[in-house]
């Protein structure tokens, strides 16, 4: 299948987009479509004209060096950051995602890189934070705890109890809690920002299986990871960011480790980007 070469994508985005048209010949509108997304933090250009598509039934890996802008893009989908310019479409509808609450209402569930958990609350409270079940004016604590137990059991997690305070959990256990959050509610798009960074081999394998299950269920998944093995194992497409810009889209089935690494580090495109800069 198609792998857009590193060099080509440096010229302009249309090449990238053309390539995606080939991968999806019949175009139902993508679940999520981001076009020309830019974001500056003061003088830092975190994202410049970035495009990203995620379809239902698809795992898209977002890779790139430290500081490439991956988390910034993820936070936009999660409603935590708004783009300076650019268009976000969900199901082909132009959409603004002004708050995390709005993202949740749109069916986006996110595992943030720093996990975004509250140490002083227990596991159940963290799972349901911001989306608590209610009976009348009160919280439905019983329902929430029972659901939390079911969800964590489904992950064969090593969490001592859903009543454990989060500060007592290990890094991997905390990450499991963050991932379990995406199972609460009925998300259509799951964003995972380095979800396996602190996990054991077995737990990582489990998360990858979980991601595949999400795809089977028809969800769209954005997976951010530095582990190329994991990425190649579960992703359908691999989107490379470099210095806040698109630097190629690859088909996971036909792409090698080295090709992706080259796109991430810019090894083969260095000469061309210099030429690009001279023009």
């Amino acid at each position: 299948m198609i792998a857009v070469g590193v060099g080509d994508s440096v010229h302009a985005t249309p090449t990238t987009r053309g390539a995606q048209d080939v991968t999806t010949p019949v175009p139902p509108p993508p679940l999520l479509s981001m076009r020309g997304i830019s974001k500056n933090f003061g003088a830092v250009e975190a994202l410049v004209g970035v495009d990203l598509d995620v379809h239902a039934h698809e795992v898209v890996a977002l890779v790139g060096d430290n500081g490439a802008g991956k988390s910034t893009l993820a936070k936009m989908v999660a409603g935590a950051i708004t783009p300076d310019t650019g268009l976000i479409e969900i199901d082909g509808e132009p959409t603004v995602i002004p708050t995390p609450g709005a993202a949740h209402a749109l069916g986006v569930a996110t595992v943030f890189q720093d996990l975004a958990l509250c140490d002083n609350l227990d596991v159940t409270s963290n799972l349901f934070l911001g989306r608590e079940a209610r009976v009348g004016p009160l919280r439905d604590d019983g329902y929430m705890e029972a659901t939390a137990r079911r969800v964590l059991d489904s992950l064969t997690s090593r969490i001592p109890s859903v009543r454990s305070q989060l500060s007592t959990l290990s890094a991997g256990q905390r990450q499991t809690v963050a991932i379990a959050r995406t199972l609460i509610g009925d998300p259509r798009l799951v964003v995972l920002d380095e979800p396996t960074a602190a996990l054991s081999v077995a737990a990582t394998a489990e998360v990858l299986t979980h991601i595949e299950r999400l795809r089977e269920m028809g969800l769209g998944v954005i997976l951010i990871s530095h582990n190329m093995m994991d990425v190649l194992a579960v992703a359908d497409r691999i989107v490379v960011l470099r210095h806040g810009r698109n630097n190629g889209v690859f088909d996971a089935a036909t792409t090698s480790h080295e090709q992706i690494l080259a796109a991430i580090t810019g090894a083969t495109s260095r000469r061309q980007s210099r030429m690009h800069a001279l023009r």
Binding site: A78, P100, G130, D141, A146, E206
Partner: protein, 410 residues
């Protein structure tokens, strides 16, 4: 990869055992701290009961204890919510003076009915809270600065409103702080029956609430605390409330009205903090504000409402204080913020936010109150009283920290 997963089936049994034990341990740990400060209160009461030759628990002294400390309890309720959210409010004393002044003026100069005056006081308190909440929540000025400014602003406004002491307030208003529930049901021996009935109802309400909570846990097949501990808790609280009711029923007036006000506020706010989504969000914000925001908690709105709330409660404290003095003074409420803050920290609230309970703050307020009263009965010099209270605050927090550290390392 697949071989790793196949290892899993061997794990669950061991896991389950560990989880059951963990659950039991964490349950104990949570309650132990709570029982700890309650135990400290009981010890201090017993100590002063002995030191004062039994004067401390004389019915009229107990009534005076509640009447003198009602304002601390009311303010501590609002303050613990502010502290749990990771803020502080230094302005409550000044707000009490300002609102108290306006309430007094509205009755004496504008000739308003005392009920209307009370409503004006509560509304004005909430308005002051909204003003401060706006700066904290929507402009992002640290609460320490906003309320430090508020301390000056509202003390200044209090001086403007109360240029000279406003006395001669209506009797029905003064009754709020000094009156008792009428002895409608007569007496059994020396005991006022109304007081006993109220005490009995309180015990029944507590037991029913506990049973219902337990039943709802059972319904979802969730772990509940051991039956022994459950029964011990109900009996313990029941005996404490019963003992207090009997003492109060033998006082000159019976059940003090302020105690009813405080009781209703304690129950209502414990509910708000413990059982509602709003309460959960206050803890979440105090634990990790960015995480709460990323999770979809409207942190600004919660911050704003917390300050509106402590403004409202400052209004209530102003009414109680003004009624107890029978007059509005420009210097009223001096140092109230420190009393309320101390009560919260003695009661186990964390300076860093995220931890603290209404019940703890109330027990903290009572510990300070009992110290005040006991030392006064012993005619200890007020300067020494202050020094002793300072030491108690320091030791209470240090003790809590050392305990936590030990629990963390074991």
């Amino acid at each position: 990869m697949s071989t790793d997963i196949k290892l899993d089936p061997a794990l669950p049994p061991a896991d389950n055992e560990r989880s059951a034990m963990g659950r039991r341990l964490s349950g104990l740990g949570g309650n132990a701290r709570e029982y700890g400060i309650f135990g400290a209160l009981v010890l201090i009461v017993l100590l002063f009961q002995i030191l004062t030759d039994g004067k401390l628990l004389k019915p009229n002294n107990v009534v005076a204890l509640f009447q003198q400390n009602a304002y601390v309890m009311i303010l501590a309720i609002g303050m613990v919510m502010v502290i749990v959210a990771g803020h502080i409010d230094l302005s409550v004393g000044s707000v009490v003076a300002f609102v108290g002044g306006v309430v007094a003026v509205s009755m004496r100069d504008w000739g308003l009915n005392w009920v209307v005056a009370v409503l004006i006081g509560l509304a004005l308190g909430a308005l002051v809270g909204a003003w401060q909440g706006y700066w904290v929540a929507y402009v992002g000025v640290p609460a320490f600065i906003v309320t430090l400014a508020g301390m000056l602003i509202f003390r200044g406004l209090a001086l403007v409103v109360v240029s000279e002491t406003i006395a001669g307030l209506p009797n029905s208003f003064i009754k709020i702080a000094t009156g008792s529930v009428p002895n409608w049901l007569g007496f059994i021996g020396k005991m006022d029956v109304v007081t006993l009935v109220i005490g009995g109802l309180a015990i029944a309400a507590f037991a029913i609430a506990q049973f219902r909570a337990r039943a709802s846990m059972r319904k979802h097949a969730l772990q509940v605390e051991p039956t022994g501990a459950f029964v011990a808790k109900i009996v313990g609280v029941g005996v404490a409330i019963g003992f207090l009711s009997v003492i109060l029923s033998m006082s000159a007036g019976g059940m003090p009205i302020v105690l009813i006000i405080c009781g209703v506020l304690i129950v209502a706010y414990s509910f708000l903090m413990g059982r509602t989504v709003f309460g959960r969000h206050i803890y979440a914000i105090g634990g990790n504000r960015p995480a709460a925001a990323l999770s979809g908690v409207n942190t600004k709105r919660v911050d704003f409402l917390i300050f509106v709330n402590i403004g409202l409660l400052s209004g209530a404290a102003a009414i109680v204080t003004t009624a107890r003095t029978g007059a509005a003074l420009a210097a009223a409420g001096n140092g109230f913020e420190l009393d309320a803050i101390a009560a919260c920290f003695i009661g186990g609230a964390a300076v860093t936010g995220g931890i603290g309970r209404i019940s703890g703050a109330i027990v903290g307020a009572l510990i300070m109150g009992v110290l005040n009263m006991g030392l006064s009965i012993l005619s200890v010099d007020p300067s020494w009283q202050q020094a002793i209270k300072g030491l108690v605050l320091l030791f209470a927090v240090a003790f809590d920290l050392i305990n936590k550290r030990r629990a963390g390392t074991s």
